[in-house]
């Protein structure tokens, strides 16, 4: 039920993200979700794409440091308290959210959030038990 995210190390300088998107575009890779974590001198670009293998290969060939990370895609009720409900469940289970960001596309009346947990398997188990829908990687790419 896990999904795979591509993480890329980028220096904080003009044009670096466009270098990444340029490579993906040239290789026909579609970006489904994107988040940037940054400091004053570097950042980590996190991407959900429709073709991980191709994205990884083409970026590595271009000299980027790339890494695949296990994340969890979770369906969130698109209403006040929707996200809070999920975070409460995780809090009770003492699972830490390393980071999270929103998926661009909606799935019906639900939004999709991408989570990185400190205990991935445990998080999936708890959320599923509580009736929260976890979207697996292959489905995510086809949304």
């Amino acid at each position: 039920m896990q999904a795979e995210q591509i993480s890329i190390f980028i220096e904080n300088k003009a044009g670096r993200i466009s270098d990444v998107t340029g490579i993906l575009s040239a290789n026909g890779v579609n970006i489904r979700a994107l988040a940037v974590a940054d400091t004053s001198d570097f950042g980590v670009l996190r991407l959900i794409v429709d073709n991980n293998a191709k994205a990884e290969e083409s970026l590595k060939n271009a000299g980027f440091t790339v890494r695949k990370t296990k994340v969890v895609a979770v369906k969130v009720e698109d209403r006040p308290g929707g996200l809070h409900n999920i975070l409460e469940i995780l809090k009770q289970a003492r699972i830490n959210v390393e980071y999270m960001y929103a998926f661009i596309q909606q799935s019906g009346d639900k939004a999709i959030m991408i989570f990185r947990f400190d205990q991935t398997e445990e998080a999936i188990k708890i959320l599923t038990e509580k009736g929260i829908t976890v979207v697996d990687g292959s489905t995510l790419c086809t949304l």
Partner: protein
């Protein structure tokens, strides 16, 4: 293996007798043929005949890089151009290039010294030498080349650059000895890895690395990555080129200086006072067999120590410690002396870090700042910013603890720090501008 048993294992007394004789001949020669030396000796009130013991050498003034520049290009030559068969020039890493010349006999002497050096590293007739030192004005390429031929080994004159082709040659020609600068060697290792070629499957037994200072930790890294015995070689064009001194494969503890051709001294770089064996200071050389470009008490600016203890390899020639830095690449940061090699050592202890780094020194509000750029490899890359920042802080702390200087560590994308085909540009000092 010892190439020249007679001279390399000569008892010290006999060696010193030869040194004195050759020194006296060299002094007479430069006094007669090079106006620069004649003036220098006259000004100091010394005649070549006043040098009666090796110790008397201390009375003679030093020669500096600036003297060579002042006499650019051929002013220091002691042989007529008609007898000069080769001209080299220093890479000019730290300013205007300096020009040196060789007679046919000098070239033969040099080839002999390089044959000794290759032999000390374990090479012999039958070995294939992949020579990735640059061919050209730089002495590295041709120096190794002539030595390899003198030794009777097969030499591949591949020179620097075209790294992918080099990897293919290493795979197909099966060379057994690699000669290159340490930084280019790491570049080769990186290229091989990208091409899916493992050095474990290649046939190298030893590598002879020099032309830039490299740390003991860098040696371990190279030996691990390339699966070979890494030997340090030292030389500089002003004195001869590569083959002034070399480590023996037996001990790998200090580089034997070929004292039947060069007289080394260690001096206090501030006062010029000669220091005894065992003390650390600036290395000074006098050549005693060269014809076209003899040099007297040349200040190399390299920092090292001389060790006269007998070596297990049988050579009687004094050993110099691996060069720890140069007086001119020593950085003074907020009053603390910092050698790039010290930072390199710290970085090498951090397992995940790639051995590519650069030091940037700036002055902001009259305060020196040091930034250490380190490339981040896949092993190290975490997609959590927190972990990357922790890594930066850990390196910064290690540098502070080891060197006593604060540094800002900056992770850099792979291959963004310039790889030179020859010497690595490790330091950018913006304070000089």
């Amino acid at each position: 293996m010892i190439f020249d048993i007679e001279y390399e294992t000569m008892p010290r007394e006999a060696l010193e007798a030869i040194q004195l004789k050759r020194l006296q001949a060299t002094l007479s020669r430069v006094y007669a043929t090079v106006p620069f030396y004649r003036k220098k000796l006259d000004d100091a009130g010394i005649l070549p005949g006043d040098v009666k013991t090796l110790k008397d050498l201390h009375k003679i003034p030093f020669t500096t890089k600036q003297d060579l520049r002042d006499n650019y290009p051929f002013g220091m030559f002691a042989a007529p151009m008609a007898n000069v068969v080769r001209i080299h020039a220093s890479s000019g890493t730290t300013g205007q290039p300096t020009v040196v010349g060789y007679t046919a006999r000098d070239i033969d002497t040099w080839a002999g010294l390089m044959a000794r050096s290759l032999s000390a590293a374990g090479a012999s007739r039958g070995d294939i030498i992949h020579n990735a030192y640059g061919y050209g004005l730089f002495t590295g390429g041709l120096g190794v080349h002539y030595g390899a031929e003198k030794l009777g080994a097969s030499v591949i004159p591949v020179s620097g650059g075209n790294t992918k082709r080099q990897v293919i040659i290493m795979k197909d020609f099966k060379p057994t000895i690699l000669t290159a600068t340490p930084s280019y060697t790491l570049h080769l290792a990186e290229a091989a890895e990208e091409m899916g070629v493992s050095f474990k499957d290649l046939h190298f037994k030893a590598g002879i690395f020099g032309a830039e200072p490299w740390s003991e930790d860098m040696r371990l890294e190279i030996e691990r990555k390339l699966d070979l015995n890494a030997i340090d070689i030292y030389g500089l064009s002003e004195v001869m080129g590569p083959g002034v001194s070399v480590e023996c494969a037996e001990a790998k503890k200090g580089l034997h200086i070929f004292e039947d051709h060069f007289i080394p001294e260690i001096i206090n770089p501030d006062t010029g006072e000669a220091l005894p064996y065992g003390e650390t200071g600036e290395l000074v050389f006098t050549t005693i067999t060269k014809e076209a470009f003899p040099i007297i008490r040349y200040r190399t600016r390299d920092i090292t120590t001389l060790n006269p203890e007998p070596c297990i390899c049988g050579r009687t020639h004094v050993r110099m410690k691996k060069v720890s830095g140069r007086t001119d690449d020593m950085l003074i940061i907020r009053g603390v002396n910092v050698f790039p090699s010290q930072i390199e050592s710290v970085l090498m202890q951090v397992q995940e870090v790639e051995p590519h780094y650069q030091l940037i020194v700036d002055r902001k509000d009259n305060l020196d700042t040091l930034t250490v750029r380190v490339e981040i490899g896949e092993k190290l890359f975490s997609d959590e910013v927190k972990k990357l920042q922790e890594l930066e802080q850990r390196i910064s702390k290690d540098i502070k603890e080891t060197l006593g200087v604060s540094a800002k560590v900056q992770l850099a994308e792979p291959k963004t720090i310039a790889r030179s085909e020859g010497k690595a540009a490790r330091v950018i000092d913006n304070r000089k501008k």
